[in-house]
């Protein structure tokens, strides 16, 4: 009985194997190819600090005496010379124009970023101060005169090229880019999401552009020599910034 069954099973299996040669791949005739995987990124040198989330920013600075200050709109004008590089993070938002950031903007940035990052593997840090510049307001419906108004709120001035927020940790640009673009769109000036490499690339591209410009006539050449008395319509600020900044705006096409 059992040997009969065994022989039957063996017969079946051998028959299956025999037919297998014919049946094998009648459906899949051509293979699509081998996927080659690139190596995983190396995060060994990345140190994640203790406090990974963005700190809360005060709406009003702690001062004994509240002083009203002059407007000093020049704190918006021109390029940022000092705070325009990365410190410890990998990715960040850089301002492409000048403007004032107030507490609402900072709250928006803080809440969005803190909600979206994983605090165990990513960290974020501020590159701007809490609002410190007092902005006065006279109040609705008041007539001109009667002195300067009272301090209404505080702001942080930001120049073009300044880094606002830095992100770092065990993450790639693709992961954080969406979050940072969301934040960048809500800022009062044009802003860009950059990584260390892309920022360096931008700066190099600008320098290369200046070098390989085929136009013999440049703004700075004409303005410094005051050709045709053009300085009648230019300001000393234009000279300093070589015509690349007007007011708080940055003109990226100018070279």
């Amino acid at each position: 009985m059992i040997p009969l069954l065994k022989s039957a099973v063996c017969g079946l299996s051998s028959r299956a194997v025999g037919c297998g040669g014919v049946l094998q791949n009648y459906a899949t005739m051509l293979t699509s190819g081998l996927k080659t995987y690139s190596p995983l990124p190396d995060y060994s040198g990345v140190v994640i600090p203790e406090r990974t989330k963005l700190k809360f920013m005060d709406k009003v600075p702690t001062l004994k005496k509240v002083r009203r200050e002059m407007k000093r709109l020049k704190d918006i004008v021109g390029p940022e010379q000092r705070e325009n590089g990365f410190t410890s993070g990998q990715y960040g938002i850089v301002a492409m124009g000048g403007g004032y950031l107030h507490w609402g903007h900072m709250e928006m940035m803080r809440l969005t970023i803190n909600r979206r990052i994983d605090p165990r593997i990513t960290y974020a840090l501020w590159r701007i101060n809490a609002p410190y510049k007092p902005i006065t307001s006279k109040g609705l419906g008041k007539r001109m005169g009667g002195g300067k108004g009272a301090v209404d709120h505080y702001v942080t001035p930001v120049r073009c090229g300044r880094l606002l927020v830095e992100l770092g940790g065990h993450c790639e640009l693709g992961e954080v880019k969406g979050l940072l673009t969301e934040v960048a769109k809500k800022l009062p000036f044009p802003a860009k999401v950059v990584s260390r490499e892309s920022l360096a690339e931008m700066q190099q591209a600008a320098a290369a552009r200046e070098l390989n410009n085929q136009n013999p006539w440049t703004f700075s050449r004409i303005a410094t020599a005051n050709m045709l008395g053009i300085r009648k319509v230019l300001s000393p600020v234009d000279l300093r910034h070589h015509g690349r900044y007007t007011g708080k705006f940055h003109l990226p096409e100018r070279v």
């Binding site: 009648y26 005739m29 293979t31 081998l34 709109l73 136009n215 004409i222 009648k232 319509v233 705006f249």
Partner: protein
Amino acid sequence: MAATLCFTFLPKQAGWLPLRQCVRYGSKAVTRHRKPVHFLKQKLLAITEYIPPKPEECFRVSRTRETKQDSRMTAFIKREVQATFQQSKMIVVVQNNATTTEDMLQLRHRLHKHDVSVKFFPNQVMRDFLSDSMHKNMKPLFIGSTVLFVSKEPKLKEVLQILKSFPQLVLVGACVDDTLMSRQGIVSYSKLPPLATVQGQVLGGLSLLSSQTSSMLHRHPAHLSALLQQYLKQQVIDGPSQETGPEAQDSVA
């Protein structure tokens, strides 16, 4: 922003600041909106725009093919192809136009009975391999979706018979014993008689000449002997009539 006069000392290198600057009053220098630009400044900005460097003249660069390294998959398939070509004596290239799976299965089954296997290889890999190997002239066969029938023994007759029942499979060419054959060549090759018959025919043709020599040498004497025999036969027949003839003539004379 009324017009003001300034008298300040300025070094010549920095350029002259005009002593009087007339500025129209209006908004401040830093505004939320884009301020209207003075026409002369517009002109200046237009003149001093960026001009990119022109790309170099495109001259005819010789088409040097960059030697692309084969991916591992391609290398693997090439090795398979090489093994197939080495092991098989007969390689038939067939073009398949939308064969269903069950048709393909039937075909494989029928060919398997004659020990012919069906192979699929990507055309690109095939062409790459052929351009390096000695079967260079097979390259134009591999256009479109192709199938290979390979076997160790040349069995073209059976293959042709089987392909008759599959009208969608078009025979394109074959390589049998390192000889390329077109469609007509294959058909005529399959119609050839078996080897022994052909060998016998060849031998017979070669020995024909030598066998004819002895008969040729004996032709003249044979002809002469045949003529003489015929003459004798006629003599025997004409003998009695001839005797009476001359006797009559004698009697008259």
